[in-house]
């Protein structure tokens, strides 16, 4: 497998860093190599939040994403910032319950109401990040549904396993509906 670059952007509190960690764990469980990094806005508190994951079956030197293959944006600000210059052929997943204006992009754009799905389908907005992961797995096939589920359950807070299991499934379904590979 070639080096694949993922960028997950949104705001602090949405759990995107956790999502990145789960994605990387799932990849490792699948026998791949993975590096996860993150960055914050000017402040530690609030503001923009970004997680990046690189997955490959070789050594990963440079740990940052330069030319993402997959981009998830979960805020308008993230959409404005990260969709510029996206390469043709990239997959762009947009949480359309939060992003109202999608800038023009070269890649394949998939609009999903992730936050609404979480709030209305699962009763808790906070699992939108996990819904997003499910969709991303379905759409890319980089990690399998099983590994993703295992990694999720291992990393979410105790007592929230059932909620998150459902969130993964909601995401997988949403992704599949959009032509996911799983």
């Amino acid at each position: 497998m070639e080096r694949q670059e993922f960028r997950l952007g949104g705001t602090g509190g949405q759990g995107l860093i956790l999502a990145g960690v789960i994605l990387a764990e799932a990849a490792i469980a699948q026998g791949l190599n993975a590096v996860q990094t993150q960055s914050y806005g000017p402040e530690a508190r609030g503001g923009a939040s970004k997680a990046e994951v690189i997955i490959a079956d070789t050594e990963i030197d440079y740990p940052k994403v330069t030319d993402p293959d997959v981009i998830l944006v979960m805020s308008q600000e993230a959409a404005n910032r990260y969709l510029k210059g996206v390469k043709a052929g990239a997959l762009v997943i947009v949480d359309s319950s939060l992003v109202k204006q999608v800038p023009p992009v070269a890649g394949r754009v998939v609009l999903l109401e992730l936050t609404r799905l979480a709030r209305e389908g699962l009763g808790r907005e906070v699992v939108a990040n996990i819904v997003a992961l499910g969709a991303l797995a379905a759409l890319t096939g980089t990690v399998s549904a099983d590994r993703l589920l295992e990694a999720t359950l291992a990393l979410v807070p105790k007592g929230t396993e059932e909620l998150n299991r459902r969130a993964v499934h909601v995401g997988l379904q949403a992704g599949s509906r959009e032509g996911g590979r799983v």
Partner: protein, 378 residues
């Protein structure tokens, strides 16, 4: 051992526990805090002690106190806290109290960019405290190496009775990577040498043939004196004069005689390299990628990556100067080790600096461009 995704800071905490560290005192600061947080949880589980002190000065003091009690000790911080630890770090160096100080570098000066990487504390790690003191500093470039070099920091610290600085950076500290940690039994661990003879024959600061005195635990019945004043072999204050001079010289000789062992450089594609990229820590990740890009374009480049930066690997760098046609130094600072490379290379081949101080990791492409520039003129 199992393969897992681990953060650099966590690997450092685990490395410390694997090395036998059982006392940690710290004060939170981004981007080092995860080390303290991991150890707050882990240390009580293994019978060790974790304490959050009122500031970094107190943290540094506390680990020295704990080390004198015979317990391997550590603290972790970042730029502003590292500046505050300097006075007591000098005490540890001068009184030969083993301990490990982790500095996860962030962009400075001052409060700077707390969540962004830099390598601006490299010279400070060598010269941050007053007076001519000896020090050792190590720079890991990966999560696995954060674990390994933490263990090695303790080994060097105990063997040489010297504080060791593990100088990581926000890239290595916050990055999560796939790692496979060595089983506990496979690690070589070094403990300080302790006296076992009678109290009467114990001379606390008289060195053996390796230049390192035996170190008694406080409470072990040796009843000796430790002072930051210039002292004689018995540990008591002396005036200016030959005894004072001899102490300083012995402290530096401890490292000097180990110079070869401490000259630790990892390389990548250096066998036939015509141009070397000199880089360490997080920046070396970009440099490695740049070397691969260069090779792909037919440029014979290699990565020269010191793992121990202090004492500076004069010998290896000097040999390097005899082998390549040019050196590109890549750092997230304005050329701190670059000046050292220049000093050692001494004009034999061109040494060019590529620095970045805007809080971002240099990109492989930018490094490649700089490397081509060196190749063109070199």
């Amino acid at each position: 051992m199992t393969v897992r995704l681990m953060q650099g800071n966590e690997a450092c905490a685990e490395g410390a526990i694997a090395a036998g560290m059982r006392f940690f005192a710290g004060y939170p600061i981004t981007p080092s805090t995860e080390i303290a947080e991991a150890l707050a949880e882990r240390l009580p589980q293994v019978g060790g002690k974790f304490i959050q002190m009122e500031d970094e000065i107190a943290s540094m003091a506390a680990i020295i106190g704990a080390s004198l009690a015979g317990v391997k000790s550590m603290t972790a911080t970042s730029g502003p806290g590292f500046s505050l630890k300097q006075e007591n770090l000098g005490f540890a160096s001068f009184c030969e109290v083993p301990c490990v100080v982790v500095n996860v570098q962030r962009a400075g000066p001052s409060t700077g960019l707390p969540t962004s990487p830099a390598q601006g504390d490299v010279m400070q790690a060598r010269w941050g405290t007053h007076g001519d003191h000896p020090i050792i500093a190590l720079c890991p470039w990966s999560v696995r190496e954060a674990f390994d070099l933490t263990v090695e920091s303790f080994n060097l610290s105990e063997a040489l009775r010297i504080p060791v600085i593990l100088l990581t950076d926000e890239v290595v500290g916050h990055m999560r990577e796939r790692v496979e940690l060595p089983p506990a039994g496979e690690l070589t661990l070094i403990d300080r040498k302790r006296p076992d003879g009678p109290r009467e024959s114990y001379v606390p600061f008289r060195a053996g043939s390796d230049g390192v005195p035996l170190m008694a635990d406080f409470g072990a019945g040796y009843r000796y004196h430790v002072t930051g004043l210039t002292h004689d072999e018995h540990g008591f204050p002396v005036s200016a004069g030959p005894v004072a001079g001899a102490l300083l010289e012995r402290l530096h000789a401890k490292l000097e005689r180990r110079r070869d062992d401490l000259d630790r450089v990892a390389t990548l594609e250096m066998e036939d390299a015509e141009f070397a990229v000199f880089a360490y820590g997080g920046a070396a990740r970009s440099a490695a990628a740049a070397v691969r890009l260069a090779r792909a374009e037919g440029l014979r480049a290699g990565l020269f990556r010191p793992q121990v930066i202090w004492p500076f690997p004069d010998r290896s760098v000097s040999r390097l100067a005899g082998k390549v046609r040019g050196v590109l130094t890549v750092e997230m600072n304005l050329g701190q080790l670059h000046a050292e490379v220049q000093r050692v290379v001494c004009g034999r081949v061109p040494v060019v600096h590529f620095g970045r101080v805007d809080g971002e990791l240099p990109s492989p492409r930018d490094i490649l461009a700089a490397l081509k520039e060196v190749a063109r003129s070199g």
